[in-house]
């Protein structure tokens, strides 16, 4: 393999993995607080649409990312109100959120399909980007890629080393016990859910401004669900989310480079790979019931209400 091809595969893997990193890290925080939000796909789509719309009309990518985070967080707020305040079933509400996000984004984005947009540009890192091999390999990404690594660092630091992170984990393990110890369970779960919405929005924004800079109905094509699977794959640990996301990123770009790699398989078969890999990975992780039992937040998906 020539070094050019290697660089191309490596960088496109990182880029393809970035939305997964954002979405899965956010969902990890949500689940560590004991909330299972299956609406990642819907929030990603709303984020992608908001980012695209702002980007196409103002040409300002920073603003586009903010709009995406805000729009998706609004959807997460809806989920939080329904499941936390109104005690709706989390699985059903998450599904509803995905279906709603799909419908709403298709509806609002009806006039945006086919519009040109500004692509997120690589960060201008003086002289670092000109280093031989390392430059093109590591220092020619856009800001969002570096942002995802920063997010990873912040989340693992938050969960492991801060008091607030400990409280969040306590709420996820047992909401009742945390409540009886005087922890504001509702407030913590609201905050975690909103944070998950925010990052899903950023994931969507990356789709429609960097990965495929355009708006297409349902353009996340299951990435939100793959992010959910990644959290299980990672046994709720941030470092493994990162690893998993890059593995999946590699899987999705295989199709782009299949010609250069000399693979003669129908493109649809290659497109199936990430989905098949998700299933295989889930089987490998869940095969041992103890892995899940020991790592899954104990009150994941269970509703809690201080009055009930």
């Amino acid at each position: 393999m020539s070094s050019d091809l290697f660089i191309a595969i490596f960088t496109s893997t990182i880029v393809a993995a970035t939305p997964l990193v954002y979405a899965a890290l956010g969902e990890l925080v949500v689940e560590r607080a004991g909330v299972l939000n299956l609406g990642v796909e819907g929030m990603m789509l709303i984020g992608a649409l908001a980012a695209f719309a702002v980007n196409a009309s103002t040409g300002h990518t920073g603003l586009a990312y903010m709009a995406a985070a805000l729009a998706a967080a609004l959807l997460a707020l809806l989920f939080a109100i329904l499941t936390l305040s109104l005690q709706a079933n989390q699985v059903a509400t998450g599904l509803a959120l995905t279906l709603f996000g799909l419908g709403l984004s298709a509806f609002l984005g009806r006039n945006l399909a086919g519009m040109p947009a500004v692509t997120l540009q690589p960060l201008a890192l003086p002289w670092l980007r000109d280093l031989p091999l390392i430059g093109p390999l590591l220092f020619r990404f856009d800001a969002a890629v570096y942002g995802s690594l920063l997010l990873y660092w912040a989340i693992s630091h938050f969960l492991r080393n801060t008091r607030a992170g400990l409280r969040l984990r306590a709420v996820g393990e047992s909401a009742t016990v945390a409540h009886s110890l005087g922890q504001p369970v509702m407030r913590i779960r609201y905050a975690a859910t909103l944070f998950g919405g925010l990052t899903s929005g950023l994931a969507g924004a990356y789709l429609s401004t960097a990965l495929t800079p355009m708006w297409v109905e349902g353009m996340s094509s299951g990435r939100g669900w793959i992010a959910l699977a990644l959290v299980v794959f990672a046994t709720w640990r941030p470092a493994r989310v990162l690893l998993g996301a890059y593995l999946f990123g590699g899987m999705t770009v295989l199709q782009l480079h299949s010609q250069a790699l000399g693979l003669h398989v129908p493109s649809e078969a290659l497109s199936m790979l990430p989905y098949i890999a998700t299933i295989v990975v889930l089987v490998l992780i869940c095969r041992n019931p103890k892995t899940i039992l020991l790592n899954q937040p104990a009150s994941l998906g269970r509703n809690f209400h201080p009055d009930a």
Binding site: S85, Q87, A96, L99, L104, W225, E268, C286
Partner: protein
């Protein structure tokens, strides 16, 4: 700031009357939302609502379309509801539907001459079996390897759709079809007979009604159905009684997969009449909403299926008449489910601010 503003009081017994009125409340809220959305879009709201909800039903053809679109929704939802009641979350009905279409289409394309009169029934059976086989994958993985059936069944949706596209770009493509990714049209004798002339609804309606009846019998009259219900409502009690969890999961997934597969078969052997890259406009996902709005009960599901079908027709109609996007349908569907989930709060809780607490001696 996010201090709990709403005080809830758990009802001693879930309210039965609200269980039935909650869907009606949700529909009402959806129509009101529609009123607001149409106004915001600069349409005369009442006129638009009439075009959306009433006009499609004023012709015989329209009524046929209502039944035609309700059939796959109800078929999928009947199976899904059985699983949801047992806490088995098959959300991949869309994939099982696609595989059902693929299998029945394969029979119709390649074995029809050899099978003669049996071709149509066997194509239907093949579709059902295909859907079952596709649902057996999450069932096996869940019972054997403890993987989430939610994620597996959903991943299989994408795989099934890509598989169908792959076949239609490959050996199943119509040789005289100008390279369109679609198969040859099936022979006339292979299509399901129409209910009556001048519209498109076919015998699939009868299958659906029979299955709705069977589903009611199963869940309310048979011990097997009772066991599934207990597994969903009280897993610990089910385990104590010795009801097998594996058995529940397998049964729920096989039945829902079979129903979805049959729905897919009826689509290609009915209105579509060939294989093409998109078989359904998301019936498998909309069926999740149908199942919930129908209270997971066969009668409710039939009614909810008709309503959801009307949402598709209404969406098409306002697109045609008012040049509004047909994505309105998805918007209405999502909102409806949200309102229902919110309204469900009042089944189990009450807001004490409405009544002063009674003090008993």
């Amino acid at each position: 700031m996010l201090k709990w503003p709403l005080r809830l009081e758990k009802r001693a017994v879930p309210s039965g009357s609200l269980r039935l009125t909650a869907p009606l409340l949700a529909v009402l809220a959806m129509v009101i939302t529609g009123f607001v959305v149409f106004s915001l879009l600069g349409q005369a709201p009442l006129q638009a609502l009439k075009l959306f909800f009433i006009t499609p039903l004023t012709t015989v053809y329209g009524l046929g379309e209502l039944l035609l679109k309700a059939t796959p929704l109800v078929l999928c939802a009947l199976g899904l509801a059985l699983g949801f009641r047992a806490n088995v979350w098959n959300i991949g009905a869309e994939g099982q539907l696609t595989l059902g279409a693929l299998c029945s289409g394969g029979v119709a394309l390649f074995w029809a001459p050899a099978l003669g009169n049996l071709a149509l029934p066997l194509a239907l059976v093949a579709g059902t079996a295909g859907g079952m086989a596709w649902a057996a994958i999450p069932a096996w993985l869940r019972t054997r390897f403890n993987t989430s059936e939610i994620l597996v069944s959903l991943m299989l949706v994408y795989i099934a759709q890509l598989w169908l596209v792959m076949m239609l770009h490959g050996s199943w493509r119509d040789p005289d079809g100008f390279n369109f990714p679609q198969s040859r049209a099936f022979a006339d004798g292979l299509l399901l007979p129409l209910l009556w002339e001048g519209q498109r609804a076919n015998w699939a309606v009868w299958f659906t009604l029979v299955l709705a009846l069977m589903s009611w019998l199963f869940s309310s009259q048979l011990f097997a159905g009772y066991r599934m219900l207990v597994s969903g409502e009280a897993p610990a009690a089910a385990a104590y009684a010795g009801f097998s969890e594996r058995w529940t999961i397998w049964l729920a997934l096989l039945i829902s997969g079979g129903c979805a597969g049959l729905a897919g078969a009826c689509e290609v052997l009915g209105p579509i009449g060939r294989l093409q890259t998109t078989i359904s406009p998301g019936y498998g996902f909309a069926a999740i909403i149908v199942a919930f709005v129908g209270r997971l009960h066969p009668v409710g599901i039939v009614l909810a299926g008709l309503l959801m079908s009307l949402l598709y027709l209404g969406g098409e109609n306002v697109q045609l008449e008012l040049q509004l996007p047909s994505a309105m349908t998805g918007l209405f569907q999502g909102t409806l489910l949200f309102y229902l989930l919110a309204a469900d709060l009042f089944i189990n809780f009450r807001l004490p601010l409405a009544s002063t607490p009674k003090v008993r001696p």
